[in-house]
């Protein structure tokens, strides 16, 4: 699972999250963070992965395939 974020989000926090979640989630933290030049820049953390991985992680796919 790829984790992208804006520059205001601490990479340290994301690494800590990765440790908390463990190897099942296999977080891949994208260290090239997005920056915005704006008076009120947006701030976000996004967890991207393909649909089959979501379904495998959270079960729905397993239910369908069994």
């Amino acid at each position: 699972m790829r984790v992208t974020s804006t520059t205001d989000v601490s990479l340290q926090e994301l690494r800590q999250l990765s440790v908390e979640l463990g190897p099942d989630f296999d977080l891949e933290i994208d260290e090239s963070q997005i920056f915005y030049k704006s008076a009120v820049p947006p701030s976000w953390v996004t967890f991207f992965t393909d649909a089959p991985v979501w379904l495998k992680l959270f079960g729905d796919c397993t239910l369908r395939k069994l």
Binding site: I34, S38, V45, F58, G59
Partner: protein
């Protein structure tokens, strides 16, 4: 709230169990327990992360469709673990239908102007919205009887390119409110920034004979950025811009910015 998450999975169990053997029902039960455990584990970690982030930071889950930068995103609202778990469960619950929609619409860079936004509505259905890059294809569609509502919003109004304009890049010089780039690849920022440099080169050629008015002293002044500006009315060529020419050097000033700097 956890009961609702369970309910979503149990609904699947009931549906699937009716089609299968007793042997496989045990596997289904085991898989469901694992799935609910993982949803809760992920929601708990996100809840902790939320408390460590600034309040305005959005937490989103999504798919890298149409690509990894402009993906399909669902913002997870709230900080309560059960609330986050429910949103995750609903996201996964809607994924098969969402995938069907993506296959049907053939989402790629030519059909989606930017990312695809997902929103969970109050009735637990999922709203999918995106911008169609082609103005003539603007639609607002809704699929009745399905849990996903589709809305295709109109694209941002594009400025038509006028034949008399200097070059197409000038037409893109309408400055967006926000620039974005990546920390590890600063050149991307320069690519996304509209610039007046290209039209300035073209404009400088409009009045080439002015160089004869210069001399050593005036050139020195120009080198110290003391130009002698002369404004020409070029509103037909570059609408909305104030263009000044230096009478002593090839410098051009567009809206207060001097080229070459």
């Amino acid at each position: 709230m956890a009961q609702i998450v369970w309910g979503l999975y149990l609904a699947e169990i009931v549906k699937e169990a009716g089609k299968d053997t007793w042997k496989n029902r045990a596997k289904i039960w085991s898989a469901t327990v694992t799935a609910v455990h993982r949803v809760n584990q992920f929601a708990t970690a996100l809840g902790r992360l939320r408390s460590r982030l600034r309040s305005k930071t959005r937490i989103e889950v999504g798919l890298p469709v149409p690509n990894g930068d402009d993906g399909t995103r669902l913002e997870l609202e709230g900080s309560d673990v059960d609330e986050l778990a429910l949103q995750l469960a609903l996201f996964v619950h809607h994924l098969p239908t969402l995938l069907d929609l993506m296959r049907k619409e053939k989402f790629d860079r030519s059909s989606v102007a930017s990312g695809i936004q997902l929103k969970l509505l109050s009735d637990a259905s999922l709203q999918v919205s995106w911008q169609d890059p082609y103005p003539n294809r603007c639609l607002v569609a809704r699929q009745p009887g399905t849990p996903i509502h589709i809305s295709v919003s109109k694209p941002y109004p594009a400025r038509p390119f006028e034949p008399g304009a200097i070059c197409p890049s000038y037409q893109r010089a309408s400055v967006p409110a926000t620039y974005a780039g990546r920390t590890s690849a600063p050149p991307m920022l320069h690519r996304t920034q509209p610039s007046d440099a290209a039209p300035a080169v073209s404009l400088a050629k409009l009045w080439p004979p002015r160089m004869h008015e210069s001399n050593c002293l005036k050139t020195l002044l120009c080198l110290r950025a003391f130009h002698r500006w002369q404004r020409l009315d070029l509103s037909r060529l570059v609408p909305g811009k104030e263009v000044d020419f230096c009478r002593w050097c090839p410098a051009v000033r567009i809206d207060g910015s001097t080229f070459p700097d």
